[in-house]
Structure formats: structure tokens, C-alpha cells
């Protein structure tokens, strides 16, 4: 018993920095947010009215939140499957001993160097209706590019944001899947080949199953990114276009310039906690759902 306490001072000393920072800036906010979540406050954050725990339900069922949640789910549904398919496709395409393949791999990874802000601004400029490059090149095919502009048309605004997001995440997905491909034993492919399996059969019977855990991981990361979408909304559409506000995600609802709850720390907390719960459920669902197919036994 005494022995265990001997290392206690050293341990506390080593853990203190992390524990304090995490305690003050992660755990405390978590707990305090839940408390704040049933308050409604004014702009100064001082005069608060207690709305009770029912406030969580009210906010969740409110039109604004539902709308934002709907938008966010839409964004995720657009970015995650396409992002995965493209990432896997590019990784498999570049998985060869060809001369100069290193160059192509670097190109496909390159978007990992762009931050969300940079990628969003790049597409903002590219899609600008009057002088943007893409509208100029393609408005014959897609008139909406110029009139009123992909980001200003309520029907195309979110898909445009999705496009920017998919492009930005491509590098990350490519790198992760390529690394996983290297881990697939070559002999599995050879065995399938000798048994007569063609390229597509090898892909579905060897590559995809072996990529299982990685696909799960990437899917979780991409989904989380979609649900946390804030910078891209702020920079591309500002939550608009009004009045439908089809790009207002939950995160933007909480923090955005044009948000209703901007100054009410109570309502912000409520929404933030709800977002946290949504993320938890999502992670859980994804892990259970995909993990079943991924588990090989030791």
C-alpha cells in the first residue's frame, strides 16, 4: 500500500500540467455548458432566466435548430460518401510501381496543405459569379454559375460548400488510405490472381475488406468534420443565402456572425451541448455499425 503512494508526488507533478489545462478548458466547459444550457441570457450574459431542463427539448425541436441540423446532415451525406469513394479510387489508382508515380501521389496528397479557410477562400474566388473562373468556363453548361452564382442560389449553395470541403479533404483521405493499402499482404492478391480473380474481383474480395478499419476511421473523421463545419460556412456563404439559409449548419448557428443566438450564452450552450450529443451518437453508431463488418477476430 505504501509502495503505491511512493510514486504519487512524481506522478502528480507530471500529470499536473495536462490535467489542469484539460480540466479548466475541456472538462469544466463540458460541465458548465450543461448547466448554462437551461438558462436564457441577455447580451451581457449577466441577467439570466432559468428555462429549466425542458429548454434542451425546446431548442432541439425549434425550427432553427432542426433546420440547421438538417443542413448539417445534408452536408455530411454529400461529403462523406463521395470523399471516401474518391479517396479510395485515387489511392487504388496510384497504387502501382509506375515511373513517376511519386509525383502523382504528391499531387493527390497536396490538398492536405490547405486549411479550411484557405480552401474555402480558393473556391469563393473560383465561384464568384461575375468574375470567377469556373462560371466563366462553364456557365454555358450550368447557367446557375453566373445567375445568381453557385453560392447564392439556395439550391446549389450547400452542394458548392460540399464541393469545396470534398476537395480540401481529398489529400487527407488519399494519404490515409494509401498507407493502409501498403499494409495489405501482396500474397493475398497473388493467391486471388492464381485462382483466376480479375481486377474488380480482387478489389472487392481483397482490397475493400482489408481496408475496413481504415474506412471506418476515415468515415468518422470526415463525418465529424462535416458536423463541425463553421469556417467554410462563414467564408463561403455567411450562413445564407437568405431567406432560406440552406447553409446554416449547427456550428454556424452557435457562433456565426448572423446567428440569432450570438449573444445569448444560455442558448449557445444549449445548442452546443445538443451538437455534442449528436456527435456522440454519430460516433457510436458508426463504430457499432461498421465495426461489426470489420472485426476479424484475433
Amino acid at each position: 500500500m505504501k509502495r503505491r503512494w511512493r510514486q504519487f508526488p512524481v506522478a502528480i507533478g507530471m500529470l499536473a500540467p495536462s490535467a489542469i489545462i484539460l480540466g479548466v478548458f475541456v472538462v469544466y466547459p463540458l460541465i458548465h455548458s450543461i448547466q448554462l444550457g437551461h438558462l436564457r441570457c441577455d447580451a451581457t450574459g449577466t441577467r439570466c432566466r432559468d428555462g429549466g431542463w425542458i429548454q434542451y427539448v425546446d431548442v432541439f425541436r425549434s425550427n432553427e435548430f432542426q433546420h440547421a441540423l438538417f443542413n448539417t446532415i445534408g452536408l455530411a451525406l454529400m461529403t462523406v460518401p463521395i470523399g471516401l469513394v474518391l479517396g479510395i479510387g485515387l489511392a487504388v489508382l496510384a497504387d502501382r510501381h509506375l515511373r513517376g508515380i511519386g509525383f502523382f501521389r504528391t499531387v493527390f496528397s497536396s490538398t492536405v496543405a490547405t486549411s479550411v479557410a484557405v480552401a474555402s477562400l480558393i473556391f469563393f474566388v473560383l465561384l464568384q459569379p461575375e468574375v470567377g473562373l469556373l462560371p466563366h468556363l462553364f456557365h454555358g453548361l450550368f447557367p446557375v454559375l453566373k445567375d445568381p452564382g453557385l453560392l447564392r442560389d439556395p439550391n446549389t449553395a450547400m452542394p458548392a460548400v460540399a464541393l469545396s470541403s470534398i476537395w480540401a479533404s481529398l489529400g487527407f483521405t488519399f494519404i490515409v488510405i494509401t498507407a493502409a493499402l501498403q499494409g495489405i499482404p501482396r500474397e493475398l492478391y497473388e493467391s486471388a490472381f492464381v485462382d483466376g480473380a480479375g481486377g474488380w474481383t480482387r478489389f472487392t474480395n481483397v482490397t475493400l475488406p482489408m481496408l475496413g478499419p481504415t474506412i471506418l476511421f476515415t468515415s468518422v473523421v470526415l463525418t465529424t468534420r462535416a458536423f463541425q463545419a463553421y469556417a467554410e460556412i462563414a467564408l463561403l456563404t455567411g450562413g445564407g443565402p437568405d431567406p432560406e439559409r440552406p447553409t446554416q449548419t449547427v456550428a454556424y448557428l452557435i457562433y456565426g456572425q448572423n446567428s440569432l443566438v450570438k449573444n445569448d450564452i444560455g442558448l449557445k450552450s444549449t445548442s452546443a451541448v445538443l451538437l455534442f450529443l449528436v456527435l456522440l451518437v454519430l460516433a457510436f453508431v458508426q463504430f457499432r455499425g461498421l465495426d461489426k463488418r470489420v472485426h476479424y477476430g484475433s
Partner: protein
């Protein structure tokens, strides 16, 4: 390389060409936004919107980039980002290594509880903590300050767990031999544990640096003045609404992205290691 299963010699030729064509096509599509951005940043305002000539590498000038630098005060923005990123990276390494050491090599009452505590923090997204942290920082008087930007980011559970994983692979006999030699914890940490996990620390450092550099939500929550603004949140101020001057934004993004491109090319291996740390669990 997987699936390099060469069929017969003859079809190899045609397949190869087909693959190259596909590779080139995809590369063009992926690079297109970057290329277009680069071209427009290197031209004058009117030239940059003169499509499709804007895509040709002619009439290049650094004037727009210089103007963006001046107007957006990009120098200061970059310095701020660099400063914050470096300090946070060092901080994360230090706190992670220390905490990881405690979890990996020490035994003490409450260890399980503390571990659960750390584990729980993994689930909490930034979107949730920012609300309260904003207020906390405000009451500390740290709005619009460097410490406000830096301090909340100084510890991450991801970093702690990553380093702990590596520490756990240190053979038990090594520790026991050191204990017999009378080597204390801090010395063991410095002379044995840390050198053994250097590649992982490199990956963690790169990852943390990039993550901090790319931060948008937190800086936008607590920085409103010009002095402490970071590059990510400062770029949008280049949007003037004037269509002629739109490529100021473009030039800004090039300047903002350039340091990262360089860093990533220099540290490619660490990047892959860091990204796959969570994915390939076997």
C-alpha cells in the same frame, strides 16, 4: 505495391497507357484550383479576371501579392500564427510527454480514475468548449492576447495517448535495469524514454503545429483587434467587395498556404505517420 499483378506482356502496355491517362486527368482536376489560384495571385487585378487568359503563365507580377501583404498586414498575421503555433507545439509535446510517462511507467492511487478523466475529454468537441472558454478567457482579461490564444491549447489527450502508446513498448527489463542503477524518473525520461519515441514526437509536433496554424473557431472567438489576429481569420479581410480587387484574396491565400506547403514537403514522413496513427490499428 499491391495488385501489381502483371498479366501477360502485351496487355501490360495498353493498360499502362490507360492508367497514365487516368492519372493525368485526375491530377489536372485536383491541381486545377491550386493552379488557377496561383496564376491569379501572380497577375494584376484586371488580368486575373480576364478569363481564360488568366490561366496562362504570362504577364506575371508580384504586385498583387505585395499589395495583399500590405493591405492585409499579412506579415503580422503570419508572425502571430507562427508564434502561437510554435509555442503551442512545444507546450503540447511537453505536457503530453510528462502525462504519458506518468500513465505508462508510474503506478499510483487514482491512476485509473485519472485515465478515465483523460479518456472522457477525447469526446468533447471544440464547438462545445468554446462557449464557456470564451467567457473564462474574458474574465481573465485575456481577450485579444497571445496567452488567450495559446493556453487553452497547451494540452491534448490525443498527444498524451499517442506518446503513451510508444512508451508502453519500452521493454520492462530496461526500466528494471535502470531502477537497479539508481536512475531517477526524470533522467530515465530524458535519456531513455524520449529518445526512443523521437519519430512519434516528430509526427506529433508536425500534427500539432499544423492543427494550431489552421485553427479558425477559437481565434475568431477571442480575437477582434488587429494586433493579435492570426492568418486564418485575417484572410477574409482581403475581401473588399470590389470585383477588380478579388485577386487580393487569392494572393492572400497563396501567401498563407505557402509556409504550410513547404513545411509539409519537408516533413512528409512525419505527416503520414501522424495521420495514420489513429487509422491503422491492426
Amino acid at each position: 505495391m499491391a495488385a501489381d499483378i502483371g498479366a501477360t506482356e502485351t496487355t501490360h502496355g495498353a493498360r499502362k497507357v490507360g492508367r497514365y491517362v487516368l492519372l493525368v486527368f485526375v491530377a489536372i482536376v485536383v491541381l486545377f484550383p491550386i493552379y488557377a489560384t496561383l496564376m491569379q495571385a501572380l497577375k494584376s487585378g484586371p488580368d486575373s479576371i480576364d478569363h481564360p487568359k488568366s490561366l496562362l503563365p504570362i504577364n506575371l507580377t508580384l504586385d498583387t501579392m505585395r499589395a495583399a501583404w500590405r493591405i492585409g498586414d499579412l506579415g503580422r498575421l503570419l508572425v502571430n500564427s507562427l508564434f502561437v503555433s510554435i509555442v503551442v507545439t512545444i507546450g503540447v509535446i511537453v505536457t503530453s510527454v510528462l502525462a504519458a510517462y506518468a500513465f505508462a511507467f508510474l503506478d499510483f492511487p487514482g491512476k485509473g480514475l485519472l485515465f478515465a478523466f483523460f479518456l472522457a475529454t477525447l469526446l468533447v468537441p471544440a464547438e462545445l468548449t468554446v462557449v464557456v472558454n470564451q467567457r473564462t478567457i474574458s474574465s481573465l482579461g485575456w481577450i485579444n492576447s497571445y496567452q488567450g490564444l495559446i493556453v487553452p491549447l497547451l494540452a491534448t489527450t490525443f498527444g498524451t495517448f499517442l506518446v503513451r502508446q510508444v512508451f508502453l513498448t519500452v521493454p520492462k527489463d530496461l526500466r528494471e535495469a535502470a531502477a537497479l542503477d539508481g536512475v531517477g524518473h526524470f533522467r530515465f525520461l530524458g535519456e531513455v524514454a524520449v529518445p526512443l519515441c523521437r519519430p512519434t514526437l516528430g509526427a506529433l509536433a508536425l500534427f500539432t503545429f499544423l492543427g494550431t496554424w489552421n485553427q479558425y473557431l477559437w481565434p475568431s472567438a477571442i480575437i477582434t483587434d488587429d494586433e493579435h489576429r492570426t492568418i486564418q481569420i485575417g484572410l477574409e479581410r482581403l475581401k473588399t467587395g470590389d470585383v477588380d480587387k478579388l485577386n487580393l484574396v487569392t494572393a492572400g491565400t497563396v501567401i498563407a498556404a505557402l509556409p504550410i506547403f513547404i513545411v509539409l514537403i519537408a516533413f512528409q514522413r512525419q505527416l503520414v505517420r501522424g495521420l495514420t496513427a489513429g487509422a491503422v490499428k491492426g
